[in-house]
């Protein structure tokens, strides 16, 4: 799919550095960051929060029929990771070996996501690797 580069770059801090936020009103952490707290609505008091990148595999799958942008990457493992700070996030899990399992501990790793065909622009992203 065609994307403007602005739509990619504006999410660089969470994508590269796991910067999310939290609501100071109810102390709920969010990754990826949200503008409005789900609990507090208009009373949200959002502040930036650095996540550690440590988490646990909550569920996972191996994607074997990818969208066109990932046709050179398949198969790849996607996990739902419960971050130690609370929120859950989907992400690639790398170097899984034969037996990844629910409950496995993982840590964020900074990796190449995919390369755009025409201009060779490389997209980087957080991924997770087993500890």
């Amino acid at each position: 799919m065609e994307r403007s580069s602005a739509s990619l770059w504006r999410k660089i801090r969470p994508r590269y550095n796991l910067v999310g936020n939290e609501c100071k009103n109810c102390n709920t952490g969010y990754f990826p960051p949200r503008v409005v707290c789900r609990n507090c609505g208009r009373k949200s008091k959002m502040a930036e929060k650095q996540f550690s990148g440590n988490g646990t595999v909550y569920s996972f799958t191996v994607i074997r029929t990818p969208p066109d942008t990932f046709k050179d990457e398949a198969p790849y493992t996607i996990g739902v990771i419960k971050l130690d700070e609370g929120p859950m996030v989907e992400g690639h899990v790398i170097d899984t070996g034969a037996k990844l399992r629910i409950g496995a501990k993982v840590k964020m790793a900074f990796r190449k996501m995919y390369v755009e065909d025409d201009e060779g622009l490389i997209h980087y992203h957080f991924k997770f690797e087993p500890l």
Partner: protein, 387 residues
């Protein structure tokens, strides 16, 4: 608030309709519904059209005005409803509200999608927009992938098996075999499902609903005047809808679709019926695990119990509860914008006693359940014979 009835329904055959574009599909289903309702084109006052991604599939937006135009509804107001795969069910609810409020009498609700003009990869990307584009699709997470994440967790928490999921596909193909509108009129076995290509573990090709072309149209009227058009109007006794986070991982649970249970509870209250009173239901089986979760979230089975019940045959045609008699999304096909409206058409046929070889004996109360994305929208309707 007025009582609302469905007085006519029409479908196209679902499948790869190579010789039909959007206009032909709309026209075919629309004419069938007007004929069934005994309503003339100039009596129609308003149209709601459900379409998910016609811009991506065929480059055509503004599809509700196009449908009104193509069906000869000159100059009436027409509004497109886009709620991903729940576009059709959501359009039906808007039509219900318009008639119930007293603003309009005869309202047409249509749903259409023309999906087979693009490659499978392009279709997957278009459908991926039903999830969180920035945090799911951008990472290469497909819809089979999202439902696989739910399935894996459901298996982990409740011991649900791949064979149980396969039994959903087998049952729905069995029903589709008896439905002349269905895309797949072909019986399959559990071993064929288990042996089909792995798409996103544990979801295999035959656990997935297909890419389809098709349209569905229903005609609504106030119940008080419905018999003027049709001897067996079907009353909509509940219309409920709920939403949730677009991103799967942000939900309270991966093993339940909360929007479904919220909408269902509201629907049972409106209709003054309980789950045990339902005779026939069309649920949103975009993947086999989705039917298992739907049976639990709609209150037919306790959490974790539906997989075994389906495997034991409790939801086959004319057993304990007849589920997806049309063949469901899996067997009948899933032209996304049309699906929610097709579900209503199937229930109307069942409650009228016109479902031929797939007729549920003595069906009096029916339900439809339409989901958008991985569960960010759920729409539930309940129907009764009005006579």
């Amino acid at each position: 608030m007025r009582d609302v009835a469905i007085i006519g329904v029409g479908l196209t055959k679902f499948g790869e309709r190579w010789s039909s574009g959007l206009k032909e599909l709309m026209g075919e289903a629309g004419l069938a519904a007007l004929e069934d309702a005994n309503v003339t084109s100039h009596e129609v006052e308003m149209l709601y059209g459900g379409t998910m991604a016609s811009g991506r599939f065929v480059g055509q937006e503004h599809t509700a005005a196009l449908m009104a135009d193509q069906l000869g509804f000159k100059n009436i107001p027409a509004v497109r409803i886009e709620n991903a795969c729940a576009s059709g069910g959501s359009a039906l609810r808007q039509g219900y509200i318009a008639v119930s409020s007293g603003i309009h009498d005869i309202v047409v609700v249509g749903g259409v999608e023309k999906m087979t003009d693009v490659t499978a990869g392009e279709a997957a990307t278009a459908l991926g927009g039903a999830g969180d584009q920035e945090w799911e699709l951008f990472q290469g997470i497909t819809f089979p992938g999202l439902y696989a994440l739910m399935a894996k967790r459901h298996m982990h928490e409740y011991g649900t098996t791949e064979e149980q999921m396969a039994s959903v596909a087998v049952k729905n193909h069995e029903n589709a075999y008896k439905n002349e509108f269905a895309q797949f009129r072909k019986r399959i076995s559990v071993s064929e499902v288990m042996g089909s290509k792995m798409i996103s573990d544990p979801i295999k090709l035959l656990d997935c609903s297909p890419i389809s072309d098709g349209a569905a149209v229903v005609v609504l009227a106030p119940l008080e005047t419905a018999r003027k058009y049709n001897d067996t109007p079907i009353k909509i006794v509940a219309s409920a809808q709920a939403s949730d986070t677009l991103r799967l991982a942000e939900r309270d649970s991966l093993t339940a679709i909360k929007a479904t249970s919220i909408a269902a509870q509201s629907a049972y209250k409106q209709a003054k019926v309980a789950a045990k009173d339902i005779d026939v239901v069309e649920v949103h089986d975009c993947f086999t695990i989705a039917e298992i979760m739907a049976m639990e979230d709609l209150g037919f089975y306790k959490k974790g119990k539906a997989g075994k019940a389906i495997e034991d045959g409790e939801t086959a045609l004319n057993s304990k509860l007849s589920v997806n008699t049309s063949g469901g999304l899996k067997g009948c096909g899933h032209p996304v914008g049309a699906t929610g409206v097709k579900q209503a058409a199937e229930i109307v046929w069942q409650l009228r006693g016109e479902a031929k070889d797939r007729q549920v004996k003595g069906a009096e109360i029916g339900m439809t359940h339409n989901v958008g994305g991985s569960g960010a929208t759920a729409v539930v309707h309940i129907y009764k014979r009005a006579d």
